[in-house]
């Protein structure tokens, strides 16, 4: 757990971080087959193994960052729908949130016992860059004074499994005269998660403190999380299939050092006409297949 007092400088840094580049989505890859040549005849006797090779183009994996904003559609209704979105705007639930209706004073910890989950509704999948820290801010607003603590936990789905990216707990002395008080937080995910394709993301926020009478999470772009990410998935592959365009039993190919070529040797198919199919995979994107027809002779 990390606890610190919010400073104005930190607020400025957090605010400027909003200008970080957002990662483009919808990247695609493509693949070609150069060997064997179209219509080539291959002797089974002379070539018990068949070399298959080609070119591939993957989307750039430039490191960047994706901003997710805490948003809420309503206030105190079944349509509140707290969520994360890569776009910011005016929120129907802005200024709505936590009402403690009590003050326990210094030394106590007024805990509503409730947390709010903000699952991402867009921006997925996201290739995580775990070489950098995740940061963000939860801005508090409303009638408030004294120390407030914000606990945040970021959870994701990776390969269909729940993975906790990390958590942080930060405190700040609230300013009752200000519009809102951003409380910055930082989460350093495990390096083992670097390059993971996040399928889903959730930010859980829990606010507590001894002197809060009522408090609200300020929305409308004021509360956010920046997730370091790659512009496209770093998980790249090429696979081939003989006479089966559905790739039911694919054979993985080896990518060369440049990442623009691939090759694989397979047992030469039986005598007759055959079609080899190849497709490239980058994260959850699969290219249109390339195909090459050739003939195996005695």
């Amino acid at each position: 757990m990390k606890t610190g007092v919010c400073r104005v400088a930190a607020v400025v840094v957090a605010a400027s971080a909003l200008l970080l580049t957002s990662v483009a989505a919808g990247a695609t890859s493509s693949v070609t087959i150069t060997t064997p040549r179209a219509g080539q005849s291959i002797s089974l006797k002379k070539n018990p193994y068949l070399a298959v090779a080609g070119g591939v183009s993957f989307a750039a994996t430039t490191p960047g960052s994706t901003a997710f904003y805490l948003r809420r559609d309503g206030c105190g209704t079944s349509n509140d729908n707290p969520h994360l979105s890569t776009t910011s705007g005016t929120d129907g639930g802005g200024g709505c949130g936590l009402i403690f209706n009590a003050v326990v004073g210094v030394g106590g910890d007024l805990d509503q016992g409730a947390f709010v989950d903000f699952p991402a509704t867009d921006g997925m999948p996201l290739p995580l860059d775990a070489t950098h820290a995740i940061d963000g801010a939860i801005a508090l607003t409303g009638a408030q004074v004294g120390l407030a603590t914000v606990d945040v936990t970021l959870e994701a789905l990776v390969h269909g499994n729940a993975v906790t990216l990390g958590s942080d707990s930060e405190s700040a002395v609230l300013d009752p005269t200000g519009n809102d008080t951003p409380i910055p937080f930082t989460i350093q995910p495990s390096a083992t998660l670097d390059g993971s394709d996040l399928q889903a993301l959730d930010l859980r926020v829990h606010i507590h403190g001894p002197n809060i009478y009522s408090g609200f999470i300020s929305l409308n772009g004021n509360s956010y999380v920046h997730v370091p990410s790659y512009a496209a998935s770093v998980n790249k592959a090429v696979q081939i299939s003989v006479d089966d365009p559905t790739f039911a039993n694919p054979t993985p190919a080896r990518l060369d050092a440049t990442g623009s070529g691939w090759s694989v040797a397979i047992p030469t198919p039986a005598i007759g006409k055959h079609t080899i199919y190849a497709e490239s995979i980058q994260g959850f994107d699969t290219s249109a297949p390339a195909s090459r027809t050739f003939t195996v002779t005695k």
């Binding site: 016992g113 989950d117 699952p119 997925m124 999948p125 936990t153 959870e155 994701a156 789905l157 390969h159 269909g160 729940a162 906790t164 394709d197 399928q199 889903a200 959730d202 859980r204 994260g283 959850f284």
Partner: protein, 358 residues
């Protein structure tokens, strides 16, 4: 010796209750009320005895041991999963990158993994104390490592929203044919429904998460008799009422808790009571349940559950994660064990047993 006494008592109970129940042919499936409807009178099992017993107190085990009512049990359980219409257009209103479109939340995968993983666990092992009488001999439930019968994604026979119990039974019959099952006694069929096409009572807010039943011509006309099946709706639709995040509180880690809790409840009830308390022409087809007709799952449903205020596993017999035979964790409820607490009986098997276990 204890077994002999219990067997005699059970036989007497079976005779008495069979006669009583024959006079009261009321029938409905055996519901698993959601966590907010545990005491809903409409969801209690049909009365079988002359001494009315109130419904279980929410969050607490229902006392009194179970008895054997004379019907068969599933000695070598085989569980068949049917994901009816999960690949049909409109079955889900969302997708998840990297997840199949027919299973965007991973619920089907989790349920399948769970059924494959329960064999040989201590949780499923609770069942081995229960038995049927074959020519006066006790034949006990076994706990083999593989209790998974098979899985069928049926996208051929169309499903629709608000399906009826009869339609579920008909799907179970199709599953019998699909899998080529000949041993109905040891087989059960879980008819799992996708997010947008569910059984009418579940959709209608009756207050249950699932139910199990046994096909008989009186109740499921035109359906092959003797099929034990479970109505397994998409319980995530009812959120925490059907167990979402009840054991694992993190958003994704606990999202599917309800699927294994609810399906596990129905599967294990079906193993000990595949005949679903049916009484046909005076013959009791029921297996094991208590005098108030609560089965081993009913008696331990939602124990310790406080909707997030405290961890249910801190309560003996409370909801908890078990470790499957694949080494993975699965959220379950405990099961009633007559042997626990020195024979007094208690909820057991979920890794948080009452200190005195049998």
């Amino acid at each position: 010796m204890k077994r002999l006494v219990l067997s005699a008592a059970a036989a007497l109970a079976a005779f008495t209750f069979a006669a009583s129940a024959a006079a009261d042919p009321a029938h409905h499936p055996l519901y698993m009320p959601d966590a907010r409807n545990m005491q809903n009178p409409a969801l209690q099992p049909p009365p079988i005895c002359c001494s009315p017993v109130g419904p279980p107190v929410a969050g607490e085990p229902a006392p009194v041991n179970m008895a054997y009512f004379g019907g068969h049990i599933q000695v070598v359980p085989k569980i068949y999963l049917v994901f009816w219409g999960w690949g049909q257009a409109g079955a889900f209103d969302h997708t998840t990158p990297g997840m199949p479109t027919y299973d965007p939340d991973g619920a089907a995968a989790r349920m399948t993994d769970f059924v494959k993983a329960i064999g040989g666990t201590g949780w499923a092992g609770v069942q081995t104390q229960y038995y049927e009488l074959d020519n006066g001999q006790e034949v006990h439930i076994t706990n083999p490592a593989n209790q998974f019968g098979g899985v069928w994604y049926d996208n051929t026979n169309p499903i629709h929203d608000n399906v009826t119990g009869l339609e579920l039974a008909q799907e179970a019959q199709r599953a019998v044919a699909h899998f080529g099952v000949t041993d109905l006694h040891d087989s059960q069929f879980v008819i799992a429904q996708p997010q947008k096409f569910n059984e009418a009572g579940f959709n209608g807010g009756v207050g249950y998460c699932a139910w199990h039943d046994y096909t008989q011509p009186q109740y499921y006309p035109g359906v092959q008799p003797g099929i034990s099946f479970t109505n397994m709706p998409y319980v995530l639709n009812l959120g925490s009422s059907c167990g979402q995040n009840s054991v694992n509180t993190a958003y994704f880690a606990g999202k599917l808790d309800g699927f294994t809790i609810v399906m596990g409840h129905e599967i294990e009830e079906t193993i000990t009571d595949p005949g679903a308390e049916d009484v046909i022409n005076g013959q009791n087809l029921g297996g094991w349940y208590d005098y108030a007709a609560y089965e081993n799952g009913d008696k331990c449903a939602w124990v310790g559950y406080t909707f997030g205020l405290s961890s249910p596993s801190t309560v003996p017999g409370g909801l908890n994660d078990i470790t499957g035979n694949d080494g993975k964790k699965y959220a379950v409820q405990s099961l009633w064990s007559n042997d626990s607490a020195a024979g007094v009986g208690y909820c057991a098997g979920a890794g948080d047993d009452f200190p005195v276990t049998g």
